[in-house]
Symmetry: C2
């Protein structure tokens, strides 16, 4: 099935100090992997580009060990089985998991454990978007931590991103008033006009703090927090009695050394719950979330938008795009 003789791999060369740059990675033409017993060869098609990628190449451990120097960059992706010695991974199957920044991945055995996906009547990019790790992250953050009730106010930061855009739509479906914070007028218009957010605040507007206050006249009951920094601080200052903070990401902080966080006095006085979470905590329940999200996307109740960057070699550049807010919806590299 495969005619290629080499496997391009993007490997970590040195840990970035701040933004990813040309020294961070190197591209190597690796030998074409051969599937051993109980293994399958996967042709990778799409890579999911996520803020967590940047965190994985820092010095500090995250919820996974840092990617080692010289190792293929860790990343979730989507591929098809092109040769197989495994009943688990039949030829032609669509698979997902930590395929890495490379053309081909060996699945199973001593390779990477991948998950076989059902063939749905949706664009396969959705399997990395609303039905992928980011959509599932939004699902559990809203349904298990934020749990917004009818009429409550939910603020979603990085609202035009892959997680935020789904989280806001799920909060709307629960009857909440949803306010998004995003970078730029175009994203804000998309949130309100296409996704049905009640309001969107452009964080590039010098008056963003005032606008955010105006958009939340009754305070904030749920903070779906993707950003950290001063936007999180402004939201924390409005948290209501018994508010919940679904602490999903801190993208504004990943390129820098840790800065002080918000004062916790209001968290105390208003009995706020803050819960850090990583979607892998609900790994066993992924099928449930994917099924629910799949039905919502198929019904048009959750819209899934993708920003696609073409070419494996552009994965490092795509990673920086996230931090520049250059994507709308899910950022994907098409290999």
């Amino acid at each position: 099935m495969t005619t290629a003789t080499a496997n391009r791999q993007i490997r970590l060369r040195e840990r970035p100090d701040g933004r990813i740059d040309e020294r961070t990675f190197e591209t190597v033409e690796g030998a074409m992997p051969e599937p051993g017993p109980r293994q399958a060869l996967v042709r990778n098609l799409y890579l999911s580009i996520d803020p967590t990628n940047r965190a994985w190449i820092g010095e500090e451990p995250t919820y996974l060990p840092p990617v080692g120097i010289g190792e293929v960059m860790r990343a979730v992706g989507l591929g098809r089985v092109v040769a197989s010695n495994s009943e688990q991974y039949p030829e032609g199957a669509l698979v997902t998991g930590l395929v890495g920044w490379q053309d081909y991945t060996l699945a199973g055995g001593e390779g990477i454990p991948l998950t076989v996906l059902p063939e749905l009547d949706l664009p396969i990019e959705c399997m990395l978007g609303a039905l992928g790790v980011t959509g599932v992250t939004a699902w559990f953050g809203i349904e298990e931590i934020g749990r917004p009730q009818e009429g409550e106010t939910v603020v979603v930061s990085a609202a035009a991103g892959a997680v935020g855009s789904v989280a806001g739509q799920l909060a709307k479906l629960r009857g909440a008033r949803v306010v998004g914070v995003a970078g730029g007028a175009e994203k804000c218009a998309w949130l309100v006009d296409d996704l049905g957010f009640d309001a969107a605040v452009d964080r590039h507007d010098p008056r963003w703090r005032e606008l955010l206050g105006q958009a939340c006249p009754d305070g904030v009951d749920v903070d779906f927090e993707n950003v950290g920094g001063e936007i999180m601080g402004a939201v924390f200052a409005m948290l209501n009695l018994n508010a919940r903070v679904a602490l999903c990401g801190l993208i504004s902080e990943y390129n820098d050394d840790p800065q002080p966080g918000p004062n916790l006095r209001r968290v105390l006085m208003n009995r706020v719950l803050i819960k850090g979470f990583i979607v892998l905590d609900w790994f066993d329940r992924f099928p449930e979330a994917i099924a629910r999200l799949g039905a919502l996307v198929a019904d048009g109740k959750v819209k899934d938008r993708h920003t696609v960057v073409a070419g494996l070699e552009r994965a490092p550049e795509a990673c920086n795009m996230l931090f520049d807010g250059a994507n709308v919806g899910k950022l994907i590299v098409k290999i």
Copy 2:
């Protein structure tokens, strides 16, 4: 029954900027209150001195509105009914509630709603200590939020205080390794030698940070947080996967304007839960907690120590003692 003709009241004169001083309160000889229909006259015996008293006289609302200028200082206390027009408050009954900094309080009707206490075979000071609001705070913080498991590490800050000393003992009873942070060698010795804490760290020791690290070789699973500031920051830096922070108080921060808090990156990566709480949230369950604590105190399994300051007029001074760490266990004013 009562022969006094006047009721001393300590009223708020001006909000303190920082510590309470001689301008903060004024003492007024009020008229002796007369119980109206369905009211009772209560002779106050003891006042509970708590960090929250300081928060109640700041500008910012807490979980209760700020005490108004000219109003009697709000405080929990213990008293006996000395005259009654109310079946609810029979003469001689021991009562507790927000009696305020005064000799006498009118209970019921348009007065203050007080709670009649059972007569237990324990010193009545215990009703403001382990069986009072502070003990009940420790109970719910440990049993409902921290929930330490056998072998987990619990750090309690302000551990020699009224809440901390009970919280640490309750964590020990659940089988946890308990580390207290307290001010001074005497308090630390009390925690380890008398209360059975596994370790205690003297925050006045210049090496406190290093000592705290040594006392928690396996990190921290539960932070029973009473203090805030840099001690909280040091504990946050050791929080383990799935750690819980029972955010009970921030005493180091009440005299100052809000300062930045800890960075939340570790909270995210380690999926930490932070829950601000106020004991009043479990008001309906006070009887259950008091009964459980009463049995533990009676059996000697929870030790309840009191620091008693004599004289209503010394209540403001006693309040500052808390911030100086001058008390061991529950700080009480005997009127």
